[in-house]
């Protein structure tokens, strides 16, 4: 499928607005963690990369998408609602008494593969599914989206070594490299760079992309099903936490919370201005 980049960009803004609205309404949710991943998710779900069927979420041959950074659940729920996995009105009930999902990812929501919220889990489970698929000679791919702060978890590197050793070339990891954790920038906490070298040393094919360029992400994943390398592939996607809403970016204070009152209105205006500038 040839993706029309400008319509994909519009989709990104649409999703950002939906994420912001649902979190403002719920007065919770990891808005900025979601925003940094929007363009990656648009490339995967709307750019023709992932194979999925909203009518049949358990379709055996679907690609598996594992959101390992489960705090970005508002984004995945928005994408799944928009793609038709469930009624979009559920987004209005995010983290509400009568809602079907809350702040962290929940596996019984249609289209969600795994409960996630504790970090360092989804990536390993994704590798296990990829190994099982290889044993069964299945053709589907396993994609997983990690946070960069998640890479502090030791289990990430246990899995990274394992996946490369077992030639899981049906596994694609994307690291949302937004440089910001809960309290500070990663390079101030414990430096994660050189990130590419770390993954390469574990035996992975590594590509570094602009995580807000849908075109770059699509190009990096263009031939992902016919790679000749036996190695698993990791995309380190440089992003900005809070991307699209300038007043929420690059400040750790916005981790894990939704803007309220005047801040909420400012965030809406910021998003609108950014869209008009494009």
């Amino acid at each position: 499928m040839t993706a029309d980049i400008s319509s994909l960009k519009n989709k990104s803004y649409e999703l950002r607005k939906m994420v912001l609205d649902m979190c403002i309404k719920a007065e919770t949710g990891h808005v900025t963690s979601s925003l940094s991943s929007v363009d990656i998710m648009v490339a995967l779900y709307y750019g023709g990369i992932l194979k999925y069927d909203p009518e049949n979420p358990h379709w055996a041959d679907r690609d598996r998408f594992i959101l390992s950074k489960g705090q970005a659940s508002p984004l995945l729920y928005t994408v799944l609602a928009d793609a038709g996995f469930f009624d979009p009105s559920e987004l209005d009930r995010f983290a509400q008494r009568d809602g079907i999902f809350g702040v962290h990812l929940q596996w019984d929501v249609p289209g969600v593969e795994l409960t996630s919220g504790s970090l360092g889990h989804g990536f390993g489970v994704a590798a296990g599914i990829a190994l099982g698929a290889m044993m069964d000679k299945d053709l589907f791919m396993v994609f997983t989206l990690l946070g960069d702060g998640e890479c502090y978890e030791g289990s990430i590197w246990e899995t990274a070594m394992f996946a490369a050793h077992n030639n899981l070339n049906n596994l694609v990891a994307i690291v949302d490299r937004n440089y910001l954790c809960v309290t500070d920038f990663t390079e101030n906490i414990v430096a994660l760079e050189p990130m590419e070298d770390k993954w390469r040393a574990c035996g992975w094919n590594v590509k570094r992309v602009n995580g807000h360029s849908i075109k770059d992400i699509l190009e990096a994943l263009a031939f992902v099903r016919s790679r000749r390398s036996h190695k698993p592939l990791v995309l380190i996607a440089d992003t900005v936490k809070g991307e699209g809403i300038d007043c929420l970016t690059n400040d750790p204070i916005w981790h894990g919370q939704a803007p309220k009152g005047k801040d909420a209105e400012a965030a809406r205006v910021c998003l609108l201005m950014r869209q008009n500038d494009e």
Binding site: T115, G120, H121, G124, G128, I129, G132, E158, F162
Partner: protein
């Protein structure tokens, strides 16, 4: 009397099952055994060695289980329960992904290896989580039978390294979770795992002193309350015996049963107190038990004192 290692009884049975079912996958955290060598040699496509990486073992196992595989994880008991506890909690308990976690080295069966290899907390911790069943293995017959069970949710199989005489017959239905292994009248020793052998010996010695006491082996957690309520009808005193820290394990489970059901039963819990803590004692299991007051003499003394009081 079979007298084979519980570990070999378990893996030999899994070998037979795996040879007929390619969906059976054994994940080892760099653990070996003669019975595993055979499996690895004959069924290499169904054997995964993750290295010394228990967290990854649970995660890879979870992925395989989601793909429809029947997954068995194997490592030393404290490592495959406690090192990766949060993986077990999220994947096995919260998400209810089924797999069989096999830990070798129940209690102090790693003997002179010291407290890093002893495991005195795992029953408490694993029984605190929903969707997890514990089988604390008593003999090789049970080990083989448990290997043959169809599991619906995650099962922790707790294997002792010591070779004990078999006390069960091969036709035993182990789904009951507990069994009267020596009949008694109004007093019972309630034991688990290796201590069931110690309890049987103690009961026999007390018989010589005309003290009639039965033994119930409680090998599955959550405990089978219905069975115990029925079996303990009319019983006045019970002594729980476990090679485990006391808070939250067998004695606690029995205490909960008594309290919740308002039973007129006096309970004495024998096990390891936090005051005694961890020990760097060497010279074999009985020496270590001496330190903890779980050796033969101490058991006889404590049981007799309680029952004749």
């Amino acid at each position: 009397m079979n007298n084979i290692a519980q570990r070999d009884a378990f893996w030999n049975r899994i070998y037979d099952i795996a040879a007929q079912d390619r969906n059976v996958i054994l994940i080892s955290a760099d653990m070996g055994a003669p019975s595993l060598d055979k499996y690895r040699k004959d069924l290499p496509a169904q054997f995964v060695n993750v290295g010394i990486a228990e967290q990854n073992a649970v995660l890879i196992g979870s992925g395989l289980a989601l793909k429809g595989k029947k997954v068995y994880l194997y490592a030393i008991a404290p490592f495959i329960t406690l090192r990766c506890l949060e993986q077990i909690r999220v994947e096995c308990s919260i998400m209810n992904i089924p797999m069989t976690i096999v830990g070798v080295g129940a209690g102090m069966s790693y003997q002179d290896s010291g407290p890093t290899h002893h495991v005195l907390e795992d029953i408490t911790i694993m029984r605190s989580m929903p969707n997890i069943t514990i089988h604390n293995i008593t003999d090789s017959v049970m080990a083989s039978a448990v290997a043959g069970m169809n599991i619906k949710n995650t099962t922790y199989v707790r294997i002792d390294r010591e070779v004990f005489p078999d006390i069960y017959s091969p036709d035993t239905d182990f789904r009951t979770g507990a069994a009267v292994v020596k009949e008694g009248k109004d007093c019972y020793l309630l034991s688990t795992g290796c201590m069931t052998h110690a309890a049987l010996h103690a009961a026999k010695r007390l018989e010589g002193k005309s003290i009639d006491v039965g033994v119930i082996d409680i090998y599955t957690f959550p405990i089978n309350e219905e069975f115990l309520l029925e079996t303990l009808k009319g019983v006045r005193k019970v002594v729980s015996i476990e090679e485990h820290f006391l808070p939250g394990a067998l004695g606690s489970a029995v205490g909960e049963l008594i309290l919740d059901n308002g039973l007129p039963i006096k309970l004495r819990r024998l096990g390891i107190t936090h005051a005694k803590g961890f020990c760097y004692k060497y010279g074999g299991r009985e020496t270590i038990r001496e330190y903890y007051g779980l050796d033969r003499e101490s058991l006889d003394r404590e049981i007799e004192r309680f029952l004749t009081d």
